[in-house]
Symmetry: C3
């Protein structure tokens, strides 16, 4: 990345004081900023750094009045922190989407199409009848099965595996090693104690703006025509597991190593803690909050419940019970003392 201070000021709707032709290549904290970088000053606690900074530019508030002379160029904006955040995102977007072209060797089957500005890394594999949108970045060694569809601006990091017929939305990020569409865990017990495999013929449908963490796994639905679903804007951390026919709503966040058993439905705007587990066939309402390591075994009754414990119960109740749990030896002792006192009382 290389921008001039002028270009950045225009992007932020800011006013330059100093040299607009300076080149910016990176973003830094004000106390660490060097030539070629841009920083920001929002908290007055850090003001002292601005007077000695080698930064090529520093974003400051409109009302900022320097108390000493400055070596650096200023960009004055309404809200320096917000402006820096915007810049950070632009920078991140730039880094994320800078790869283009097709590295060799890579594999693409028959009747598959890709849009503009695509990146297909070396050793990536695209099956037959695949449809891939514009500006999709397919990192090396990624696998995309037959008939998969992928929306615009989606990034598949190295080693992502998408089984055939799955559908991935636009503006998604799938991290390395994530697996989408593996067979659901369905087996019919036989009389002799062995298991017969129940064919898993459905797919997975991932909405727009979804993030899947590294080595996360999502099974396909059982029946053809059915899908395991992840709603728009939902974020899954690393090593999360979704069983077959699971449905996750919109803008729900699931922390690392949580596991959702088959056919469970989680609503919109939920927060699921790390290593939480869910039994199958549950329905969790919108805005449910589940603490880390909780084991959810029942439906919620209304929106906004907060759950904790294994089995999960109301958060407040769990905390109250656990507070006493920690004192159980003392409780037991008190009970014993009472029993002894009672024995010593005159009987009726």
């Amino acid at each position: 990345m290389e921008f001039t201070v002028d270009q950045i000021a225009r992007m932020l709707d800011g006013i330059i004081e100093g040299n607009g032709s300076e080149k910016i290549r990176t973003l830094k904290k004000i106390q660490e900023a060097t030539k070629g970088s841009i920083a920001f000053l929002s908290n007055p606690k850090y003001e002292k750094y601005i007077y000695t900074s080698d930064a090529s530019a520093i974003i400051v508030g409109e009302e900022f009045e320097p108390k000493h002379s400055l070596k650096t160029t200023l960009i004055r904006v309404n809200d320096p922190y917000l402006s820096f955040t915007i810049l950070l995102e632009e920078y991140h977007r730039f880094l994320s989407f800078q790869k283009t072209g097709v590295e060799s060797p890579s594999f693409m089957g028959e009747n598959s199409t890709t849009g503009d500005d695509i990146y297909r890394g070396a050793f990536s594999y695209i099956g037959d009848n695949v449809q891939i949108g514009n500006n999709v970045k397919i990192y090396p060694q990624t696998y995309i099965g037959d008939q998969v569809q992928i929306g615009d601006n989606t990034i598949l990091h190295s080693g992502v595996r998408i089984y055939s017929k799955c559908i991935i939305g636009s503006n998604c990020v799938l991290h390395a090693g994530a697996v989408v569409g593996s067979d659901g865990f369905g087996y019919a017990p036989q009389k002799d104690g062995s298991y017969k495999t129940i064919p898993q013929l459905g797919n997975v449908v991932i909405g727009d703006f979804v993030h899947l963490g590294a080595n996360t796994t999502i099974d396909c639905a059982t029946l053809e025509g059915d899908c395991t679903r992840v709603g728009e804007g939902t974020k899954l951390d690393n090593l999360v597991q979704l069983g077959h026919n699971v449905s996750i709503g919109k803008h729900t966040v699931i922390a690392s190593q949580a596991g959702i058993s088959g056919s469970t439905k989680i609503g919109d705007y939920c927060l699921i803690g790390g290593q939480a587990g869910f039994a199958g066939h549950l329905v969790l309402d919108n805005h449910t909050s589940v603490g880390a390591q909780a084991g959810v075994s029942k439906n919620t009754k209304k929106e906004g419940e907060k759950l904790l414990g294994s089995f999960a119960i109301d958060l407040r109740n769990y905390l109250n019970s656990y507070a006493i749990f920690k004192k159980l030896p003392e409780l037991n002792k008190r009970l014993k003392e009472l029993e002894e006192k009672i024995v010593n009382l005159p009987t009726v």
Copy 2:
């Protein structure tokens, strides 16, 4: 897949009423069936759909008597649901094994052999002295180390990794990203607090009809000649972990994210819940049932035990204790009230 109704009727030992030359390409529920698909009618609740269905064929019972005229061809069988299941399995098998041939580029080392009807996807890697049976399907980007043996009809999905010397049975399915044979977690503590690596020289032996879920990991045994073992017909869900020298019996089912520490032996016909954990060097008898999130720290004493909790205890006991746990604040209050009453009693 494309079969005629004639071919399907013969497969199911059924009798056709209608057009036996109709082409069938897929299987659907009766309420969703369209031209080119086959459905079944077992539950009378769904009978109404048969009279308007566009399905190219519908499987019905021998005794079925239509109340109205039909557009669709019928296949009469003894048990429509069972027949449909057989068809579903055939369809699934067809889909699973349809890939054949060697895509380019793929890699095969020296002295390695493969059987008939093999599929070797692009970017798959086979080391030296590997023996691979008939009808094995090796999806793209799969890794098979030196001296590995793989039985007939086994499917390795994309990105499976099998370390050298491991042995995989026939009719197995290994899902994407599963790792077989990584080093056991063995380190000898040194006087200075650091750790020396204990060489891990054994292998993993996987029986026939075993399924390994996506991103599941199985470590090799420590000593050369020893193995970590998964018995015939056993099914492991996604993200399961088996440590070195673990032994899992036959027809045991282990749900997602469960972890078994080194040298633990689990018997035949066991059911292990999701996120359950096992200490090392345990022995679990046949038919043991372990609930989700349980933490097993002791051997079982007999077959058929049911365990729950962390530490795991008898299921019934855990449920009884947890029922009181939820009332601990109330219990504490009752105890306090008693204490106060006693204080107020006349002393002896």
Copy 3:
């Protein structure tokens, strides 16, 4: 591997009795040793095997006096068990580092350098501006992003993924499917309930002699210039998760499926049990010990604490409380009996 008994005796500083030109290809237990293998005798319990052994050589103590005639060659050393261990390690090292050369096709970007004795397996990918030391073994289908640095003697097993800018020390072993440098799980909640991605621009720094288990995931730090850190000699088992900005000290051992949330710092010489979970932003002192499935939610107060339970408390306290937990139904019954007795007492 093939050594003569002479070569091995010199390596162990031992004295030969018998044929020094015998060829050794593998190491075995004394009761299983065959021609071409070497074994050791330390425990007198196993002495009987030495008289019938076909081993090409057996390592014995300096003071060993055979009671019968022997077929095998002896190597006399000070400590037979230690000598065998040394041999085992040499053998393991030999096996681990025997691959060399560049298999085809493999990919290397611009301005990247590799040292001597390197192995680059087929379908491995090295990006631009990567620096790789001597004797590094990069197994097939491994991904190394731009600007990554890797020290000498490090082994990357098949399917390891290292995101750009990460730094891996020397003498490390990364097992199959391990992911280093995926985006941290950082999202800013918006007023409409959706989430904005917080760009993750830092990297991961892994010290020397670190082992990462199969399918383990480590996120990069949030800010450019910051890192998620794993200290020298630390060992992570399979399926472990480290969030962004986590810092793990030196010679710490983390068992399988444990998860550490963002910004938590764990000290040196700690022991973390399997499936343990840690909240974010904690500080754990050196020599902390955390039991399996514990849920750590608070800082430690001093070195050497032992924790268990979810939420984690002092190990001893947890065990005492859990012992009573198992008797809660009985406790409840005793309390009820007391309540009834009290009711029957004469009131004051």
